[in-house]
Subunit: 176 residues, 2 copies
């Protein structure tokens, strides 16, 4: 097996999943506490079902600590998309890519080679992170709807920044 | 109505659709003559059905003159995705973006405002064109499978190069 073949085998799939539709900002004093609406819960459940039916399984689901994201992550888990959900503070709005990427880097040396991970979070951060991984910088050109999904293939043998590839960008409309 | 509102109303949706699975290059003396395989025809038909069920309708389907692309365009038409299919030489492999973009520009001043168009063609051209429209240059970072679909929102009141947005990138797997 050549080095190139080996490198090819050690790509990681990263799914960036935006939380579902939440109650309006006006209805809650604390933005962080806003829950999903019934419609948001329903659409997110349908998206999760479609992902699961396509054989997707996340070795780890990292979620923003905000209620609407945690509820989205719980729905993914209920759909058998992953056994392990973990809160990660830097996935909250305005989080920095390197906060979770460095953590992931330290983890994946041990556990996450050839694995599939999900991050549940917010816009415009998820889109910005995707652009940074794929094209090296954020330009806010990816339209990611609520409960929408971005799929990225990241190399694990070199920095993923500007060296990843985009294979999926989809809104719930296409998965219902 | 402000100028900004007006501009917002005159965006155009562009779908870049890669031809389905075709017979191997070795089996045909002429690359341009390679037809879709049964599996390619079947998968493309399923993708077309899914697009149609989501209410998509193309005001015009432009296709590469190669047989595998023309067959793909015909399948889209059979699924009631558009009444009009037109061959366009510059959609053949190694075509230049400005060849079809300039033509489109001249047409859309008259007919294609707020409209939805499909281009049926080849990789890596479709991915390169998408990146050029959205990020201003091609880096071959979009993974577009056969019968896969890219969706782009293009402004019509200014050049779309580097000023469009990506809203869809999907392989048949997600639409079957």
């Amino acid at each position: 097996m050549s080095l190139r073949d080996f490198a090819h085998q050690t790509k990681m799939q990263l799914y960036l999943i935006r939380h579902g539709i939440a109650v309006e900002r006006e209805s809650y004093a604390q933005d962080a506490e806003r829950p999903l609406t019934n419609k948001g819960r329903q659409k997110t459940t349908q998206v999760a079902k479609q992902l699961s039916e396509r054989g997707l399984y996340f070795n780890l689901i990292l979620t923003s600590p905000l209620v609407r994201a945690k509820q989205t992550a719980a729905i993914l888990q209920e759909a058998n998309l992953g056994a392990k959900v973990q809160e990660f503070a830097s996935l909250a709005p305005k989080g920095e890519i390197f906060d979770w990427l460095n953590w992931l880097e330290s983890q994946r040396q041990i556990n996450y080679r050839d694995k599939c991970l999900a991050l549940v979070g917010h816009q415009p951060d998820l889109g910005n992170w995707a652009e940074t991984l794929v094209w090296g910088k954020a330009q806010e050109k990816l339209m990611l709807k609520k409960a929408g999904v971005i799929g990225i293939e990241m190399p694990v043998t070199k920095t993923p920044i500007g060296q990843s590839e985009l294979f999926l960008l989809v809104s719930p409309k296409w998965l219902l």
